[in-house]
């Protein structure tokens, strides 16, 4: 005796959020039943294991049928097959596109290609996110990437409109797309201490200040590609380190401002020239795609690490960078104030975000 067929279909599609999460997390039906049993759902309504199994199977089937629609969430609202209340649609979409920070950290900046997809089982083993869930997340990244690649207009807004995501999630996806497009290096050992949220913040900064879209908002790829003209202009900043007078002047202005305000003043004074050279060299090299990729590692190697070894506190860092940026405005012979601000604004906030253990 065996149950050959067992279905339950409601006019309003019934979905249990807990089961949905288990499905998204890649649990098999049997594992999901186990988890649910441990969760104590059995006590409700005097359910037995069979009831739970039947319910889980039904829901898994429903989710599988919905998955096709979730790939283009706009369809979910005007499809006729499932009558799903709008708040549930939002939940379904939001959860489907949610991702594990540990997983995304592994693929951040990598090319969203078949090759990477093949490595997913390694990532799965490393992050203990199930392979099924890894695949879903990876495919989500890829899908979003593909769609917004061909769209004009602001990246975050495009993602939100096309995938009906919350603002937060849309921003995270924008970061992922931006990193994938520019292939920023994030996997080096030195960068391991940085979380996805750190990078997402930096990506947000770069998108809103350094991309083409920051100046012209109706071009293709405006938020994905860095503004080439701006990168060219960055070369002009070199004067700050090549012109001996300027460098000294800059240093003295900064030191005057800092004196007595920090415990590590001596160290700051000592490493000023090195640090300034580091930051400006990064700026000057950004015309090379290769160096763009190394942007974050350069920031860490050229700036964060030296400071850290000198035991600067976060507050010291802030103080230093604020004065470093502002003092450049007082230099009479330095003519590139606009570019300077555009560059330092981003670098400053990125370093603030990245300066932690």
């Amino acid at each position: 005796m065996s149950v050959e067929l067992d279905v339950f279909v409601g006019n309003t599609t019934i979905m249990d959020e807990e089961v949905y999460q288990l499905w998204l997390d890649g649990y098999t039906v049997n594992d999901a039943v186990k988890v649910r049993m441990e969760g104590g759902v059995m006590d409700e309504c005097e359910a037995s294991k069979d009831v739970l199994l039947s319910d889980t199977m039904d829901q898994y089937r429903t989710f599988q049928m919905c998955e096709r629609l979730l790939h283009s969430p706009a369809k979910l609202a005007n499809q006729l097959l499932f009558q799903i209340p709008p708040h549930r649609q939002i939940m379904l979409i939001e959860r489907y596109y949610a991702f594990d920070d540990t997983f995304v950290r592994e693929v951040l900046g990598k090319k969203l290609s078949k090759g990477t997809k093949k490595d997913l089982d390694d990532i799965s083993a490393k992050t203990s996110v199930t392979l099924k869930s890894c695949r879903r997340q990876f495919d989500n990244f890829k899908r979003v990437f593909k769609v917004v690649e061909e769209l004009k207009g602001p990246l975050v807004e495009n993602i939100r409109q096309h995938f009906l995501l919350s603002d937060k999630l849309a921003r995270d996806y924008a970061a992922i797309v931006f990193f994938a497009n520019n292939r920023f290096e994030t996997g080096k050992r030195k960068l391991q201490y940085l979380s996805f949220q750190d990078f997402a913040f930096c990506a947000g900064q770069l998108i809103s200040n350094w991309t083409v879209g920051a100046v012209d908002n109706m071009v293709e790829d405006m938020d994905v590609d860095l503004d080439k003209e701006f990168l060219q202009e960055l070369k002009e900043l070199k004067i700050l380190i090549t012109d001996k007078d300027l460098l000294d002047q800059h240093k003295s202005l900064v030191c005057t401002a800092l004196r007595g305000k920090t415990k590590v003043f001596i160290e700051m004074e000592g490493s000023f020239k090195n640090l300034s050279r580091g930051l400006i060299n990064i700026a000057a090299k950004l015309t090379n795609t290769k160096d763009v990729r190394d942007f974050f590692i350069d920031l860490v190697e050229k700036f964060i690490e030296p400071c850290r070894s000198d035991r600067w506190s976060a507050a010291d860092m802030k103080l230093y960078l604020t004065h470093y940026t502002n003092s450049a405005h007082i230099l009479d012979t330095f003519k590139h104030q606009v570019v300077w601000d555009r560059y330092m604004g981003v670098v400053k906030s990125c370093i603030f975000k990245m300066y932690h253990d």
């Binding site: 319910d55 009558q83 109706m218």
Partner: protein, 1073 residues
């Protein structure tokens, strides 16, 4: 009355990719009606084509309009090879044929393919212009309204109930034609779908003609069924109750549906009856009597003799207690009444009514359940009229060659006569809650009919009697409404069966039986104690495999035993729950190759007019048979269960001073042994002093292990978990304060019996567990709706193959307010419901694309109230509305956030122009309250979702809402087949998506008619066949219901405008998208 049918193909969306090379589709559409076909242009390389075609016009007879569906085929154009079909849409244009219903069908329809399921959607607009042409010999019956609802529909008033109408049509099943061997499965399925659609149309038209002949204008309780007789053909049959209905003007509408007393309703309304057709037509077919079988051909009796047929001796269900009582008070009045009513009914061949609930005062007395079954051997339909190739010319009733339908018709007539005579035996002149069904296995067919014998108020029956002035009050029984229907209709001195009679516990003037079984709903005015509950009796009987007559004989020999067993089980379970009446009793017996399945479902209730049920007494047959401890332990368990159930269903009948109502079990010496036999008890009857209505215990004898098993199975029925109630009727006895949560569902389970040598007992256990587990699953799945009630639980059993048992359930879960369950005042529930409705209104309305300005007005009016109403305990309800608030706040937050962010940065100003523009314009022009504008935004974030929310329910009403318009009957038949079963997720995956697709298509059709709900929905057929070895499966589903527009009970003033804009607005927005 010919007419012009106009159709316009607007657009398609979500089409499948038909051209692998380009990943696109070159779609065009064929629009076909009758023999005329039009085509749209090809819309190249698009998955969302915009055809925006001209109006295709078909000039047709109204006869065709009634019979034929509009057939829309979407194809992919292919220059070199044949065009590939993407899928089809059949649109039944019947709803457009009566003036009051829908005026236009417009909206997105799922494009359906019998192999691939739904493949995208198509936007279509259909209109009909009817020319007034009074042809005396017309064959059409345009204008007759059809309702599946088995009560007088809301917003109508019945001025006259004419009675029973029935019809059947027969055809060869395309699946079994020789051509089927050479055509594709798709072609075969489509041929079948189309044929059944045609046959349904024809059937409806013919029933309509009969109604017109009777002078009616509507059919209520319309029940259409298919008999897939395989080789021998396809029968479509329908029964219903012809009525003359008056539409109530919307102003006076509230609560008029069933509460309306005929005396209060203005009789003058009858004159402005909208049924101009009805009034004119009686002459149209003057020669046809109401006699409903066609001209009998001479040879029919000979044919009959060829058919093997066994009529099963039928049981009459009523109380089966020990019985007998002195009938001192014979009713001369009643005899008079009976005579009078009889004259009214005598003209009718079958005084049957498919209705299950009636206006107060209509039902005078209820006798009990009458049923009849008969086993027939099917014979191949020989029909020269059906050539092999031109197969779809339908049989004409009166054609000389069509002798076969008469056989079928004679079969049914036989059964109906039997029912009629049973009713007579119960002293009743009418049968209410009448239904018919069949079960077919190979060549054997069981025909069943059942109903409730009753005496009706003659006032409704006779024409001219509606002038209230002339109502004879002499014949009015002075019986109070809340117990009158329980009073026995038969003569106490001459009882048709042994029953124990007592004086009515309410009025103390008339006799009542100790137990009452009926197939109808609990009358709204009936006095009950506590709550009702679903009671099921389940039974399996093995039988030997046999062929032909031997098989039929074996089955018919088994049937009486099955009926008896089911009846005993029902009675025991009823007593175990301390209840004394069953409503909505439905007994289904399904035949398979090697077994028979019986399932009886009913809603048990404690009627305060009837005596309290006795307990159940266990007795060993011989004293030394079983240890007395064993017996007493069982006895204790039973007594405990009864006590628990009393508490569970809150059965606390009003205490009666002179009787020990509380003590269920009489002294052992009074025990009468009447288990399993009526006659046995007769000797002992005289000893019992029944004049005081002393209740007798129901005695179970433990004479063998079977009996022990029976008792065990009696006790394993688990009560529903806390917070749940269940019933299979329209109304849940004891609960009336419904809140807005409604969840209709269908569940199918198929069990494979692997064990070859099963016993009856083993099978019974398996079958019982199957049903019980299904219920448990429902409770679990719907736990978020607690407190809630599963209403109209409709179980259907089948034996699709030798070792398979299939159970299909359709029901609706409805939330109610726990706090107020005790109060039963008429006012309270209504108020409560409306408050809920206000709260939930925001969403449903604005989700509908049709909601235009008028809606916004009503909503804004309401939102003030809605906001302040706090979210009552049913927070977790599945209903949209209750969540609307929460989700919109959530969205609001997001929006706000987004807004400020955008404002903060300079670059946004231009790029988000389009979006921001729409936001601001909306905000500016609608000075709405916060709640409203919020939800407006939430809907827009889904790209202005154009999908109307369509609620579905098997009941005739939706809680908290009022039906303001019936848009027509929905009757759809679908076939789905697959040759890649595994790839579609196995049988469960296949059926799951098919049922979801059927729901979607029903919703789409209702929305296109301008409706927002389906009431009286039922899935009448769900035939599932599989062949896992070949990776194939096929399923047939037939669903029906009434499409309606319903509005929240509170906005009555704005109702009319909403309805209107709902219609036109709907078409516009749909057209635009």
């Amino acid at each position: 009355m010919p007419g012009k049918l106009k159709a316009k193909i607007v657009a398609g969306r979500h089409l499948p990719v038909m051209d692998r090379a380009s990943d696109l589709t070159d779609a065009f559409v064929e629009v076909k009606f009758g023999n005329t076909t039009f085509k749209t242009d090809v819309c190249p390389k698009s998955l969302n084509p915009q055809w925006n075609s001209e109006w295709f016009k078909f000039e047709v007879d109204d006869e065709d309009l009634q019979d034929e569906p509009l057939q829309i085929t979407v194809l992919d154009h292919d220059t070199y090879s044949a065009n590939d079909a993407i899928g089809k849409v059949y649109i039944d244009i019947d709803p457009l044929l009566y003036s009051e219903a829908a005026s236009v069908i417009s909206g997105w329809f799922p494009i359906y393919d019998t192999i691939h399921g739904i493949r995208g959607e198509i936007n279509v607009i259909v209109k009909v212009e009817l020319f007034n042409d009074l042809n005396r010999f017309r064959q059409s019956s345009c204008g007759v309204k059809f309702f599946c609802t088995t009560c007088i529909p809301q917003c109508y008033r019945a001025t006259l109930v004419h009675g029973f109408v029935e019809e059947l049509v027969v055809n060869e099943d395309p699946e079994y034609q020789w051509i089927d061997r050479i055509r594709t499965p798709r072609a075969s399925n489509e041929a079948r779908q189309r044929l059944i659609s045609l046959m349904s149309g024809e059937l409806q038209r013919k029933i309509g003609l009969k109604v017109l002949e009777m002078g009616g204008n509507a059919v209520v309780g319309y029940l259409q069924c298919f008999d897939l007789e395989g080789e021998s053909g396809l029968v479509v049959r329908a029964i219903g109750t012809a009525c003359t209905l008056d539409k109530l003007s919307s102003g006076s509408a509230p609560n008029t549906n069933t509460h309306m007393h005929p005396n209060t309703a203005p009789a003058s309304n009858a004159c402005n009856s909208p049924s101009k057709d009805g009034k004119e037509s009686p002459l149209a077919h003057g020669c046809r009597s109401t006699h409903n079988s066609p001209v009998h051909s001479v040879c029919s009796s000979q044919r009959l003799s060829q058919n093997f047929s066994v009529s099963v001796p039928t049981l009459i269900f009523t109380g089966m207690g020990s019985g007998g009582s002195a009938g001192k008070e014979a009713g001369p009045l009643r005899t008079l009444l009976r005579q009078q009513t009889q004259t009214a009914l005598e003209q009718r061949e079958f005084p049957f009514f498919t209705l299950t609930s009636f206006p107060p005062g209509f039902l005078l007395h209820v006798g009990g359940v009458v049923s009849a079954r008969s086993v027939k051997l099917l014979d191949r339909i020989h029909n020269p009229a059906l050539g092999n190739t031109r197969s779809y010319k339908l049989l004409d009733w009166n054609s000389v060659t069509a002798d076969e339908p008469e056989t079928r018709d004679a079969w049914w007539e036989e059964i109906r006569q039997e029912i009629k005579s049973h009713a007579r035996a119960l002293g009743c002149h009418a049968v209410v809650g009448y239904s018919e069904s069949t079960s077919i296995c190979e060549e054997v067919c069981i025909l069943s009919a059942s109903g409730t014998a009753a005496i009706l108020n003659p006032r409704y029956m006779r024409e001219g009697c509606l002038d209230i002035g002339c109502t004879d009050h002499r014949f009015e029984e002075p019986s109070p409404p809340n117990c009158g229907f329980c009073h026995i209709p038969y003569d106490e001195l001459n009882m048709p069966f042994p029953a124990q009679l007592t004086y009515c516990y309410h009025c103390r003037r008339q006799k009542v039986p100790d137990v009452l079984f009926t197939t109808i709903d609990l009358p709204s005015e009936a006095a009950v104690a506590g709550k009702g509950c679903l009671i099921q009796a389940r039974l399996c009987r093995l039988k030997k495999k046999a062929q032909g007559e031997a098989n039929a004989t074996a089955i018919s020999n088994l049937l009486p035993f099955m009926e008896y067993e089911l009846h005993t089980q029902l009675m025991n379970k009823l007593k175990l729950r301390s209840m004394n009446a069953l409503f909505g009793l439905h007994i289904q017996i399904s035949v398979g190759e090697n077994m028979l399945l019986g399932l009886a479902s009913a809603t048990g209730v404690y009627l305060t007019a009837l005596p309290a049920p006795g307990g159940i007494q266990i007795a060993g047959k011989t004293p030394g048979d079983l240890s007395s401890e064993h017996i007493s332990s069982i006895q204790k368990r039973i007594n405990d269960t009864i006590a628990v159930n009393k508490e569970l269903y809150q059965i606390n009948p009003p205490e009666l001073a002179e009787e020990g109502v509380g003590s269920p079990i009489p002294e052992p010496r009074h025990r009468s042994r009447l288990f399993r036999s009526h006659s046995e008890s007769s000797d002992e009857l005289s000893e019992l002093d029944l004049s005081h209505g002393k209740k007798d215990a129901f005695v179970l004898e433990i004479d063998d292990t079977d009996a022990v098993e029976d008792i065990h199975s009696l006790l394993i029925d688990a009560p529903p978990p806390t917070g749940f109630y269940s019933c299979n009727t329209e109304n849940m006895p004891g609960i009336s304060n419904w809140t807005s949560g409604v969840q209709m569902f269908t569940s199918v389970r198929v069990l494979r019996l692997s064990n070859a040598n099963l016993t009856n007992q083993g099978l019974n256990k398996i079958f019982t567990d199957l049903c019980e587990n299904l219920l448990k699953s429902f409770y679990f799945k719907l736990r978020s709706m607690i407190p809630c009630c599963l209403c109209h639980l409709n179980f259907t059993v089948a034996v699709p193959e030798e070792e398979l048992i299939q159970v299909t359930v359709t029901a609706v879960a409805m939330t109610y307010d726990k706090e107020q369950t005790q109060e039963k005042t008429a006012e309270k529930p209504v108020n409560k419901g409306s408050l809920e409705a206000e709260e939930q209104l925001q969403f449903p309305l604005e989700l509908c694309a049709d909601s235009s300005s008028s809606n916004i007005q009503t909503a804004s009016k309401i939102s003030g109230v809605g906001e302040s109403t706090n979210m009552s305990p049913r927070a977790a309800s599945v209903d949209y509305g209750s969540f609307a608030d929460r989700c919109s706040t959530w969205l609001e937050l997001l929006r706000l956030k987004a807004h400020t962010i955008r404002r903060g940065s300079v670059k946004t100003s231009r790029r988000t122009q389009s979006l921001a523009h729409s936001v601001s314009s909306l905000e500016r022009c609608s000075p709405l309250q916060e709640g409203r504008s919020r939800s407006l935004r939430s809907s827009r974030s889904f790209g202005g979702s154009s999908v109307t929310v369509v609620k579905m329910t098997p009941l005739s009403f939706l809680p908290g809402t009022r039906i303001i318009k019936y848009l027509g009957i929905i009757n759809m038949f679908f076939i789905r087949e697959t040759t890649s079963l595994r790839e579609e997720g196995g049988v469960s995956g296949f059926l799951h998506s098919f049922i979801a697709e059927v729901f979607a298509m029903v919703r789409a059709h209702v929305a296109a008619l301008g409706g927002n709900a389906v009431v009286s929905y039922s899935m009448k057929e769900c035939v599932f066949m599989e062949n896992p070895n070949k990776n194939q499966a096929q399923c047939l589903i037939n669903v029906s219901g009434d499409a309606v527009i319903c509005i929240s009970e509170t906005d009555q003033e704005s109702s009319a405008s909403t309805a209107n804009t709902g219609q036109t607005g709907g078409s516009e927005t749909d057209g635009a998208t």
